[in-house]
Assembly symmetry: C2
Homo-oligomer: 418 residues x 2
Amino acid sequence: MDIGDFVKLELENTTYSGTVMPSLNEDTVVIKMKSGYNVGIDKKKIKNIEILESGDKPKYGLPPLNLEKNPKLKNISILSTGGTVASRVDYKTGAVHPAFTADDLIRAVPELMDVANIKGKVILNILSENMLPKYWVMTADAIKEEIENGAEGIVIAHGTDTMHYTASALSFMVNSEVPIILVGAQRSSDRPSSDAALNIIAAVKAATEPIKGVYVLMHGETGDTVCHLHEGTKVRKLHSSRRDAFKSVNETPIAEVNPFTKKVTYLREVKSQDRSKIKEVVLNTNLEEKVALIKVYPGIDSEILKFYVDNGYKGIILEGTGLGHTPETFFEGIDYANENNVLVAMTTQTINGRVNMNVYSNGRELQAKGVIPCEDMLSEVAFVKLMHLLGNYEFKEAKELMSKNIAGEINESINLEC
Amino acid sequence: MDIGDFVKLELENTTYSGTVMPSLNEDTVVIKMKSGYNVGIDKKKIKNIEILESGDKPKYGLPPLNLEKNPKLKNISILSTGGTVASRVDYKTGAVHPAFTADDLIRAVPELMDVANIKGKVILNILSENMLPKYWVMTADAIKEEIENGAEGIVIAHGTDTMHYTASALSFMVNSEVPIILVGAQRSSDRPSSDAALNIIAAVKAATEPIKGVYVLMHGETGDTVCHLHEGTKVRKLHSSRRDAFKSVNETPIAEVNPFTKKVTYLREVKSQDRSKIKEVVLNTNLEEKVALIKVYPGIDSEILKFYVDNGYKGIILEGTGLGHTPETFFEGIDYANENNVLVAMTTQTINGRVNMNVYSNGRELQAKGVIPCEDMLSEVAFVKLMHLLGNYEFKEAKELMSKNIAGEINESINLEC
């Protein structure tokens, strides 16, 4: 019995069928069942082992599944950009290089067959820490192509490091009536605790919903219980390793998605889709790449800001302290940016809560120097939005739009209990 | 009846005594009672008003309280650096400039008399966004002086924007057997929801405990229920406006402090004090100020890092993505920093969780380039620690100490449920 084999294990009172996974404990066999769920079985309790299908088969030797489309199910395209979530499929097919055809996906997560008609496509294969603005554009282009070719929902498999930056970029760049769901995994498939399969199932389910917009789907709790669907401009990675690392900030998630029952429970109002325009996609992928995100700290020197101005930067997001402040030591640099028509906008490093630059003198002075408050917008979203605005509008208009809601990134009031 | 007057208000069935506070609603009188708690009273329900003491009296005209020390209580020094928490006292005395004598404090929060023998001292009067490393040194010097003069506990009133940076700096700079408690307020005293009085009461209480080390004390919940005592190197401001904005990260708080019952409930082990050395203080206030904190983002340019190296910076904290990564676009800058003996260390912008640069190739490559993983250390703490290390040690030793625990900033394992 080797890793990758599809086996039937007989125990005293029960039988398990599934694919043998790597196990961290040599006394235990880990089986991934068809449900996508893993079970660890004490080797001593196994009475009989039957190898139903060997995992040794070369990938390209697997016969095509020749699945016919189920007319009752929606057509969902899964686009892979790489990352931990995509590595699962690699593992299952035994391929070192990415493999993300519909057949690979169905073999890895057979349950997808019951949720949608699946199409798979690799558009990139990078670790998400290496995502670049040009790849956001490439992803937007791929989404447009899929939708125009009949996709009724899009799932983007993505590494988690920068998934929220990409979700934000797509929120500003893609206008369509189709749900676009980014999905990742915090644990790779060679670990019994992998969240990849359940997240993909829930993401595909979410992509079949009659909603539009860009969302992130990940585990909602550390356990395998429920997944959360987050608005693409209101979500952030808030833990380096936990499976529920992604959290909506200043907002509740959009919905809970149960990957077992496939039930979707909406937690707040959602943008519903206009089916009559389902194939219409308008992209705006212009980006000004000379934008920076600067976190301020005690004693930060004005020379730092001058460096950006002198090097052709057009916009700066300052991640300030508290309600949106910087040390006075930074004022000279801000004046210099303002004199040189560099757009400076303010978020807060408290992550949660809203910028309010009217409460203290520091905030009022900064506004007098031309700094724009970003309200309850996340720093990462503000960074992407400023690239988008400066890529499409003149300075004055970009400045006005920075503090106005475009894609769900600013709410007039925030739920203080979030 | 004017703001600042001490009054007795008779209602149908009850009587309230306290100081008249500004009210946001003209139909309501807000009274700050001696307990430090505010009550809003419908003007229509007031049957009789008696002005017991006019608030118009000039500050310097108030007679001294001539309080005698209670030998059963500890001697606590409250040092004010400014900020919202100190503005309360300003308001109460009618002074525009800071006033923070023991008498002012006792008049504002009479309950303190029952908790400790209070001494008050103004050492700075700045908004905490303007805190500078040299003010951290000034504060450390003031702490030493107070302890050598008999203070058995220290409370530092501080603005909240950068209170966690200061707590971290004092954690590395001050070695003593006395508890040092930083305290702030999220709402100023002219708002009925002010948390200033309760936080000060709980902070003074914590300063009387037989513990040592540097802590932050703030509301533990949005309501006036319980305060949390946080370890100075494990705490961060995580909301711009909520009263429970400060949270321990990757750890539980040290203790709950009930400002009403004065009960202190420890939630984990704490450093206990050696009473025999209570007057001994060793300071190490050397700081290398040429240290920067850089948050990385998709597409961040190596030229940015080169700017710091070329401008004499000696250390850089990178707030990376996920488990501690940067885009490959930044590698050239990191090589340049390494070649020029600039110490580069890595934290994570996920805030929660631990850096682990052994999991993905990106992290391993960064380590090969000399980047030091900061484990479960907060970015703000790592920034201060690097200033401290480079101010006291040679490059090689500083590099080794960066990933080792000195003042509670690194734990070997973290509670994943935090």
